[in-house]
Symmetry: C2
Subunit: 257 residues, 2 copies
């Protein structure tokens, strides 16, 4: 199978390397930034282009690993849309953004937070697929199967919700760690002391639901502790607001049920 | 060394078992609830009391693993305060709550979220100690050393902050997971799909600071995605409020620096 990668960021890099290591041919890399294109092409030992006029037209699969907003504008810039299958890798873009450009399309969404500097183990990454036909779905499934056993057929409506849930589970969670690290820094306590607690919190929800795993002063509405915490947060008005809102909502949710 | 456990909850249970497995004698368990006292005593193959009149007076160490509010009232109910060392296990209570009752006291605070149903590996748990004298600090250090290499001397002022940071890193983080699971449930998506993302998010901050690990629509203030997410949250007004506040604060924090 011959693949063209449209994009050169962390998803294109990790996904391209992983597929290549499974014997898939990465035929070409496109980025409008020639340095980035060259950098990834070198890593994958393949050719690169920074002008869509030079696009290789005979690939089996075109993977668009782009910023959410860039897909349609890249498609519009193509003089001719190649005959192969076209998929994007985004959580928040509907599959139908390919409509009007091609009839062979789908989504190949690896649900993970990628950083260029950190290696990933694809066997641990769920891949969400969706396709414009059963045949294409099968092609995407077989491709995903090379990388992981965690393959999910998720439609565009569900994928939007999944992406929203991921913001809470990853981005907002990481911000909670960031707030904890600010409080510790200001008190001359090393962040490492709290890492085992973070690890155990993430571990617990593998066997308990997050609802059942909830602990802390908010769930039992321990007003004394909450008041003491808010007092300590006096000099951080934004964090204090977050503390109050989350405590209130945790309490309400657990009182309700 | 002979220890008396005051309390029979999850901290007393896990800590008592762990110490006993290292050859420490658990001489007695007290709980005002006789069933709980008996249950833990049976588990530890020792004796129990539910009346402080029957307290064993010759132990080397008395560990108070109680609800935050209960320490002083238990001390007040003791006819005679034994001569041994007295420590509590709480994050948010100052060491000096023992003052006026005894001169030999300290804190032995395992920084972890314990659940009765889930086993813990004490080698992975930081233990924060503080003591009224250097000699007692050494006793507590040696005791902690039986269980873990992660031993920190933390004063009461710092421990209060540490406890506050733990609320963000554990309780609020878990609530983020809970919100994600609500969104997924309502969209008929299994929660397991997001578990690898949660694991990687917790893993990342071992090598990157949470500040550097931050990703997501908020940090780049991707207004289109944020607006689309808020639209999806229309029917969850509380979660919508949390989404807006956290997005705003993430953006402000990263703009500032």
């Amino acid at each position: 199978m011959e693949i063209v990668l449209i994009g050169s960021g962390s998803v294109a890099t990790h996904l391209g390397s992983a597929l290549q290591s499974k014997g898939i041919t990465i035929k070409q890399v496109f980025s409008r930034n020639p340095e980035n294109a060259q950098h990834l092409a070198k890593k994958l030992n393949t050719t690169y282009i920074d002008d869509l006029e030079d696009l290789y037209l005979d690939a089996d699969l075109y993977i668009y690993a782009l910023k959410d907003s860039a897909l349609k504008s890249v498609l519009r810039k193509m003089e001719r849309i190649p005959a192969g299958i076209h998929v994007h890798t985004a959580g928040s873009i509907p599959m139908t953004d390919f409509e009007g450009f091609t009839g062979s399309y789908g989504v190949f969404y690896p649900l993970q937070s990628f950083s260029l500097k950190k290696d990933v183990d694809f066997t641990q990454i769920p891949i969400c697929i969706e396709a414009s036909s059963i045949e294409i779905e099968q092609v995407l499934f077989d491709l995903a199967k090379l990388l992981t056993d965690k393959i999910y057929t998720i439609n565009s409506e569900q994928r939007k919700k999944l992406h929203l849930a991921a913001v809470f589970a990853c981005n907002f969670t990481n911000y909670m760690y960031d707030i904890a690290s600010q409080i510790l820094d200001d008190s001359a306590i090393q962040f490492e002391i709290i890492q085992p607690l973070i690890a155990e919190t993430a571990e617990k929800i593998k066997t308990l639901s997050p609802y059942d795993a909830q602990t802390g002063p908010a769930i039992r509405f321990d007003e004394t502790t909450i008041a003491r915490h808010l007092l300590m947060l006096n000099k951080y008005p934004e964090i204090s607001k977050i503390y109050s809102l989350l405590s209130k909502e945790i309490h309400t949710r657990h009182k309700r049920s």
